[in-house]
Symmetry: C2
Subunit: 332 residues, 2 copies
Amino acid sequence: MEKGIMRFSDKVGFISAGSVVGKCEFEGPIGDCFDIHDKSDKFGMNTWEKAESEMQRLALNTAMAKAGLSEGDIDALFAGDLLNQCVGSSYGLVDFDIPYFGLYGACSTAAEGLILGAMGVSAGHFERAAAVTSSHNSSAERQYRMPIEYGAQRSPTAQWTVTGSGAFIIGNCGGVRISEALGGIVVDKGIKDASNMGAAMAPAAVDTLTRYFSVSGSSPEDFDLILSGDLGAEGGSILCELMLTSGYDIKGRYNDCGMIIYDRGAQDMHSGGSGCGCSAVVLAAYILPKLMRGELSDILFLGTGAMMSPASVQQGQSIPAVAHLVRLKKPL
Amino acid sequence: MEKGIMRFSDKVGFISAGSVVGKCEFEGPIGDCFDIHDKSDKFGMNTWEKAESEMQRLALNTAMAKAGLSEGDIDALFAGDLLNQCVGSSYGLVDFDIPYFGLYGACSTAAEGLILGAMGVSAGHFERAAAVTSSHNSSAERQYRMPIEYGAQRSPTAQWTVTGSGAFIIGNCGGVRISEALGGIVVDKGIKDASNMGAAMAPAAVDTLTRYFSVSGSSPEDFDLILSGDLGAEGGSILCELMLTSGYDIKGRYNDCGMIIYDRGAQDMHSGGSGCGCSAVVLAAYILPKLMRGELSDILFLGTGAMMSPASVQQGQSIPAVAHLVRLKKPL
């Protein structure tokens, strides 16, 4: 094996995917692509946290329904979210009688779940595995910053936590392939501004991406698209700049899920979308179909996560970040 | 494959382990077994959260030093803890340039990390992987209940969160083997008392254990020891009773890491120890050496976790729980 790069068997890929979003995401430029939306953001629940759990349940149910699968057909769940103790996932998926592996990778969790699910399927431990993640703007705001009812002003570099949940079912199939992965190293470059997570996460993305190019001997030109999860406008431009100083010009083929999901001008989303749900729903609803149709053939998806907590920020610590890479290819 | 049981290659096992604990754990009946302790519980830091991170750093360093390994020799970290956003792990392990997969399985995280690490090693993706977890009594009390300075009275069924961190290095070696695993299903039987987590977790342990016996065709008599992570006095007796009603008498060979680590009478630890660190340090310092010396030859280790959050309890939700099973064998 090339040091660090995980290579999966040829058939490992996506059987199906489901996406569930809230109001702002549905009103964004790719709103029509999502499977389910609720303009109240509540999904019939009486707290934001329960609404987030309900999105996960709906996302997984949708993915299973699309593939005609029931819970007995899935051997493992890899799931996580941004809420304390990841209760979005544990409560959201409690109704499914499927072994549950809880993850915490902040906004990188979708990529982390894809890697671990693909690893289990490729090794033959699971016939099928599911990766599920979510975030909810209102539950995240009150946990990380302020309850939205306070109407606090947001910084220009701040990102908007996506209300959404994406679920992926991974198996040996003829769908879009998960061909390789590279785990992210936790990187802390001293950023302390919790309203500028793009800047905190960009160095982690640079670390993973340069390691991948260097170990695999590939270059940006080998890929149709290099897609980060939620670096936003600020983090994305830092990434492109830092990559250029490392000798890799990615600008022409780079995009970010947080920039795709909203119309920043019309929707006033400052630096773009973020959250565990951001990369999950954009990948599920917008990118995978492009790979399936052959409009994209070989892409690098970088799940990016900022690993601080409100307590660690209050204690004056800087923000560590991680970026997990997954290489996705169109069907054989 | 037998449905759900993950079987690893014969050589997958523990290269080394490290354990770090605080004052109460050092003063307990197996205090002499731990590698490092600090009677101030502070480990040279000025907050409890930073102390917890420092324990993880020390535990992994100790495990690496015992095996003569440096960070370049380890291909993946699987780590988690009980703090919001798992900052005990992300800050504790940020100094290691090793790909990092964050986990949240509450107190089951040690078992979850062993399973995923063994999966990656067995499949050939990693030459060596490390699993690291921690908990700290003072950081957990103030996050989940009250700052310890308030001196709140504790319920008789309450458990004492262990101050400790355990690190395991997994690889192809001649050590104690990780032979099989079975992922836990999230089970919620309606318990709402956050001071009685043993009762909330016992049904999850019953679910995993009965599934294992039924699928593998084995019975309690096939094992020297059935060891749960932190069911405590209350949860342990519920487990034995429920197993008996399912037709499995485990009482004679059952024990719990939370009951091993403290002298409940002399130390006034109510229902026993708990926390991500509890099962990790007891396994690392007390159980693995017994397997290594052949005093135990074939055991089932059940990592148990309660997946609620303070917010979910305040919102009136009951406590979901999970139990991951790992089968450990003495060296070949």
